[in-house]
Symmetry: C2
Subunit: 205 residues, 2 copies
């Protein structure tokens, strides 16, 4: 799916038919299929149908491809923290905003988030990305604590455990949700929010 | 952690200090760290501190190691379906039994389940394991439908989506739960069951 919206200088150096964005999109799907460690620049070149040296027109190294791909997931996740709506209302409302926004990013940037979630932390680039991911997770954990303190959420669940279970619920989306499948992105968001706040029994919402 | 409980003939062919079970345990941790595809028999030999040919005393191939490691997760998961308690009581009770038992297997067989959950389906062995995993998942989906029909669970959530979200919640345990950490296996089981049935708001339980 080549597009022409990328604005970085690297795009201009790309071969006709590929800009950095489409190289990135194909690279991330190859990383997800075979694992980042197991993917060589040769495998990438094969999947792109171009020579290894042509890839180097787009990015200097496999690590740079990884970093750019992870930014596609991390930048929008970090933007949630900065969003004005993450700062107004009760802690419960802010938590709901945060969880809904996270689901939306996961659905829209599915393959990039998949890559992020599968990182093993074997390299410096991976560890940096995991640190940034953990900083976002911590915001959710803080909101759970705040919502418990304001009395809008049950207080008998350890907030760190609750946060991890919430991300478990949400993050699983990247493994099975398919755009255009039987359940729409909006429905999945509603179902997930309902399950996380009220569970299978349903509640007071 | 060498043990001497394995009874297969392969064990007897093992080198002193290693039986098949300990080879398997080390192999699965290497697979989880580097990815199955990216792990060569040479890397395994290095981690085991034995020669490649010594590994072949234990198993004929890397694929066999994978198959044996996946059985360590799949056999106890499949045993839940066969358990008498999965067949008595209301659908809601049977679902709770199923989810609790799954959590217990995940905690006890953490590294083997991690391997199972990270499979990409690149080989026949992986695809077979994924088929067996899906058969277990289907049992849970059937129980959700049954519990909705008996009126014990809310009926406004698509059962397949609910099932996937439930497994998302549970499966995340393998990524972060640590035996001996601040939250015990029993507490995690209780927290997860509470969240899945009643959510953050808490309910009628």
């Amino acid at each position: 799916m080549p597009t022409s919206t990328a604005k970085s200088p690297a795009t201009k150096r790309g071969r006709p038919g590929y800009d950095q964005e489409s190289v990135l999109s194909i690279a991330v799907s190859v990383f997800n299929k075979h694992g980042y460690d197991a993917t060589s620049m040769g495998t990438l070149a094969e999947n792109l149908g171009i020579s290894k040296s042509a890839i180097y027109h787009h990015v200097p190294s496999k690590g740079d491809l990884l970093r750019l791909a992870l930014d596609e997931a991390l930048i929008p996740l970090e933007a949630i923290v900065e969003d004005e709506r993450a700062t107004i209302g009760t802690a419960e409302q802010r938590l709901e905003f945060f969880l809904r926004s996270t689901i939306q990013v996961l659905v829209k940037r599915q393959q990039y988030v998949t890559l992020l979630l599968r990182l093993r932390g074997n390299t410096e680039i991976e560890r940096d990305a995991l640190d940034r991911r953990r900083a976002v997770d911590r915001r959710v954990s803080d909101l759970v604590v705040e919502a418990q303190q304001e009395g809008s959420l049950r207080a008998d669940i350890d907030p760190r455990t609750a946060t991890r279970l919430l991300f478990g619920t949400i993050n699983s989306l990247v493994e099975w949700f398919r755009e255009g499948g039987p359940v729409s992105a909006e429905q999945v968001e509603e179902h997930a929010i309902t399950m996380m706040f009220d569970g299978l029994h349903g509640g007071k919402r």
